[in-house]
């Protein structure tokens, strides 16, 4: 056997055994699209490097005579992790942690189990990062699907910075995945910049986050021009909020999570109650942008509020929960068997809404990949239950009636369709709609079939009438799946 023959056999064997799950990759990519924001800062400045190294060596040696001590104490890279806690790690060439510094109060709290960061000194960087991310997850900083962690690597050696950044991004990502956590990982590399460092120190954040703040400010001059405190207020925001601002191009500064929590608590009348815990989730990419605040009362249950992201007005939620007060603008998510009050009593509840949607789709709960149910509001009033779930790469979205659990609207969407270029043709699209309606062609009149590529994929709009009812369908042009349907009795 020649070398080429051997290699050919190896290649063939690998080809036959390699996974062929393009769908699997694509489904994950959709969810993760844009989660890593490449940011680079090309400004170079090296004057600080020896100074910092010297100071650090001095500090480590105990303020004493070993100023020229040990190459291994020289800081090669500065890595920072920001969620809202900001933590900075100084690392030598061998990726060993020389110093771990919590930069704000939240970071100090997160690191209490690790001697305020001191315990991580001397460990390998990946071990330290693992430990820190684990602590952040445990403390709930990365719980929501929209939360984000920013990894910044500062190094005068760009190649080393890029490599470290890639490794850390992968490491953090894998910790998050192990914990089934869907928070986004953002990363960037920076070279040193004295102005940025000063800005960071002033606001008790890392230079990495300071760079993010700077980008938000530069994105649109309005923020910088409108307020002298802009930098300070932006620095207080979480990475998630900042990256949302960057993404949406928003020029106003949101009030921040704690102000939103306070607004909701004030409205709920629980400011003086210690036992109420609060969770805040910024939804700055929504229009209008708001903070979702959940108040957990040990006996009364959970209450959900929406707070305007810029003026702090409570958009929805129940006032004065302690006095069992007004319910006109709000709702209560029941926990346990709490007695229901007010007009809530007639609502069917999330469980029934879910059952109704699954039954309509003909899907059993055990088959769905995920299922989310929530109350949808309009003008501060509950409008319907929204139920979303996914089965075999097909996403279903339902609107279910509040009081009778009827299906008001349903949408079906194929995820990650790779079958581009395929076209089932008008006849098959028609047949798919008819079959869904349970009719035959002879029973229907006033056909209308339109081919539509407006949404970046091929769809057929099919309309017809039968027995005094107008039917309207949207059919996936590649697969024949019914994407949307409506039927209405003629007046």
């Amino acid at each position: 056997m020649t070398d080429q023959e051997l290699e050919r056999r190896l290649a063939q064997a690998l080809d036959h055994t390699a996974p062929d799950d393009c769908e699997g990759v694509l489904s994950r990519c959709e969810a993760r699209k844009g989660t890593v924001i490449p940011m680079t800062n090309k400004q170079t400045k090296n004057r600080w490097r020896p100074l910092i190294a010297a100071c650090l060596a001095l500090a480590l040696v105990g303020g004493g005579g070993g100023l020229f001590y040990q190459q291994s104490y020289a800081v090669a890279s500065v890595v920072s992790l920001d969620v809202n806690p900001s933590i900075e790690l100084k690392v030598n060439q061998k990726e060993k942690v020389l110093a771990c510094t919590p930069l704000n109060q939240e970071a100090r709290e997160a690191l209490t189990d690790m001697g305020g960061g001191a315990d991580l000194e001397g460990t390998k960087l990946d071990v330290a990062v693992n430990a820190i991310v684990g602590a952040l997850v445990r403390r709930g900083y990365l719980d929501s699907i929209s939360s984000a962690i920013l990894i910044s690597v500062e190094d005068k050696n760009e190649a080393r910075a890029a490599k470290l950044r890639q490794e850390l991004t992968a490491a953090v990502d894998s910790v998050l995945q192990e914990q089934s956590n869907n928070a986004s990982v953002l990363s960037q590399t920076l070279t040193q910049d004295a102005a940025l460092e000063a800005q960071a120190r002033e606001n008790n954040i890392s230079t990495g986050k300071a760079y993010l703040v700077r980008q938000v400010m530069e994105m649109n001059g309005t923020i910088a021009a409108n307020s002298t405190t802009a930098q300070e207020r932006l620095s207080a925001l979480s990475v998630e909020e900042l990256s949302d601002l960057l993404e949406t191009g928003e020029t106003r500064i949101p009030i921040g999570k704690s102000a939103a929590a306070q607004a909701a608590e004030q409205y709920a009348g629980t400011l003086s109650v210690d036992s109420v815990t609060v969770e805040v989730d910024p939804e700055l990419d929504e229009v209008p942008a708001y903070y979702e605040v959940e108040l957990h009362h040990p006996t009364l249950g959970e209450f959900e509020y929406r707070v305007d992201a810029f003026n702090g007005a409570v958009l929805s939620g129940r006032a004065d929960i302690l006095s069992g007060g007004k319910t006109q603008t709000g709702t209560q998510t029941q926990s346990g068997n709490q007695p229901q009050t007010g007009n809530q009593s007639a609502m069917v509840g999330e469980a029934k809404a879910k059952t109704a949607a699954l039954a309509h789709a003909g899907v059993s709960e055990s088959a769905v990949k995920y299922c989310n149910v929530w109350l949808e509001y309009d003008d501060g009033r509950p409008e319907c239950y929204e139920v979303e779930f996914e089965v075999n790469g097909v996403r279903y979205k339902y609107e279910i009636g509040l009081y009778d659990a009827t299906v008001q609207k349903s949408e079906v969407e194929r995820k990650a369709s790779t079958a581009s270029g395929e076209d089932i043709g008008q006849e098959k699209a028609k047949a798919a709609a008819l079959s869904h309606a349970g009719l035959t062609e002879s029973q229907v009149t006033k056909w209308k079939v339109e081919r539509d590529e407006d949404h970046g994929r091929l769809e057929y709009e099919v309309e017809f009438k039968s027995g005094g009812v107008e039917y309207e369908y949207t059919i996936d042009g590649a697969t024949g799946v019914v994407l949307e349907h409506e039927s209405e009795r003629e007046d």
Binding site: Q12, T17, P38
Partner: protein
Amino acid sequence: MLILLGIQTMEHGGGEDRRELEEMLSGVAAGDREALAQLYRRTRTAVYGLALSYLKNPHDAQDVTQDAFVRVWECAPQYRPKGSPMAWMLTIARNLALMKLRQRGRQGSLEQEEWAAIPAEEASVSPEDRQVLQTALAALGDQERQVVLLHAVSGLKHREIAAVLELPLATVLSKYHRALKKLRVQLEGDDAR
């Protein structure tokens, strides 16, 4: 130098491939999912080969393969078309594989090397495939296996393999020859010596 020349003439994967991969990658960078699907179909074997050569466990290698393409999707905007796109992707896969190995080390989940290399239920896998892969996994040293699998499936040149694996070129060359020789002995018996 003579040896080098001799080897390079055998290498496949010319400029054409590179250009096509570059195009797919720039499509991926622009968010084109179809480009990612193409890239996946084109390079999954190489990425899997690399992962398997490090992990020696098909399940872990499959996981890493999928993770690698997700990472490619995320990082494609940062790719700069000055090197080899294949080498760039394989470097991503290698980092993920190394991480997996470190995790394994910490968890101690795989004390023994697992040679159930190929899922038994795979219909497309012939007995020959099974034999050649199991031999490659069982008979070769780590570096030998990495070099030879990568060379067989990636179309990379030896110096590019050296860069991806972070090994000196001379090591790559000697491991490559030794690996092929060992494989031949294992597959054909002692006559091949």
